[in-house]
């Protein structure tokens, strides 16, 4: 079997403070993309809602199915026909009084022009919940731009990091 090294960092950012993180001009040469986001929102207490858009599509072309555990119970919810992926009230990052939380997004076969795009993600907020979620972008276009948003308090805090990786298959 042929073997080749892969899992390449494409871009990374450490924020001063920003409402949006943008990865643009993403090359189509990989098979999957992974984003690791570690940080907080600027809300002093509580947690912030995050979400993402692809290729500047702000139409109602996103949907998701989510599973979460909050330390007391497990539950599942869904959003359909929305204009942001993963803007689920249970899919969050921590506020400034909590520990830094991590979200890992996996964009599978992002550059193919045959299928709709499916994204899976996990989020962990130590004082709120843990989630696993799957999202759908109803477009066959290759993903070339990813926007990550903080919807609740306007900003990701200073020191929040986001790294985009490309994974190539043989």
């Amino acid at each position: 079997m042929p073997a080749g090294s892969t899992y390449t960092p494409i871009a990374t950012t450490t924020l001063g403070s920003a409402a949006t993180i943008t990865f643009s001009s993403i090359p189509s040469t990989y098979t999957d993309l992974v984003i690791v986001l570690n940080g907080n929102g600027s809300r002093v207490a509580g947690t912030d809602d995050t979400g993402l858009r692809l290729n500047s599509d702000s139409g109602s072309n996103y949907s998701e199915t989510l599973l979460q555990g909050n330390g007391t119970s497990a539950s599942s919810s869904r959003a359909s026909g929305v204009n942001v992926m993963f803007q689920n009230t249970n899919f969050r990052i921590g506020g400034t009084t909590g520990a830094r939380s991590t979200i890992i997004y996996q964009f599978m076969n992002y550059a193919n022009t045959t299928t709709y795009k499916t994204v899976i993600a996990r989020s962990n907020v130590s004082d709120f919940n843990v989630t696993a979620t799957v999202g759908l972008w109803r477009s066959t276009a290759a993903i070339n731009t990813i926007y990550l948003y903080n919807f609740t308090s306007a900003n990701f805090t200073s020191g929040t990091t986001a790294t985009l990786y490309g994974i190539a298959s043989a």
């Binding site: 199915t65 076969n109 899976i120």
Partner: protein
Amino acid sequence: MSPILGILASGNYPRVTNSYESIATVTVGAGGSAAAEFTSIPNTYKHLQIRILARSNRAVTTDNIKLGVGNGTIDTGANYAYHNLYGNGTSAAASGGSSETSGYLDSISGSSIGASIFGVIVIDFLDYANTNKYKTVRSLGGYDSNGGGFISLTSNLWMSTSAINRIKLTCRGTAFDQYSHFALYGIKG
């Protein structure tokens, strides 16, 4: 929605080498395929990962993949166990099995869902070549169909101390649809 302030990430980094390697890929062509199989997997890595984009040709909304592993040949004995936690958009539930003849993986879409919708799964085979322990496999996967779907976390146990050098993923329907894609990676430790 317009961002108040945006930060554009950019930068080029040296290619990471010799730690996460692509071993082999199966892409399903026209006519479909009943299974995707990886053979002669080298024992030179610490862990394996398979990344899947798949759809079943069975006339259901949700289908599953059977997992078979082995050394030389796929083990079809009652040597597998699994636990699964899933959400269907309405409620969370769990399932499990012991002394099974195959492992159980997360949900993918079936042919009753729109043709452009595929499920995805990321599977980790931890310490796959170690001959002192049973093998643990964990996965995250699911699909969304804009009004339906499943998301799940699954763990599987293969009750054998043999190194894994063969993996077979079988569709519970007749076949995986064209454009399904299975990529095997090795992770060095």
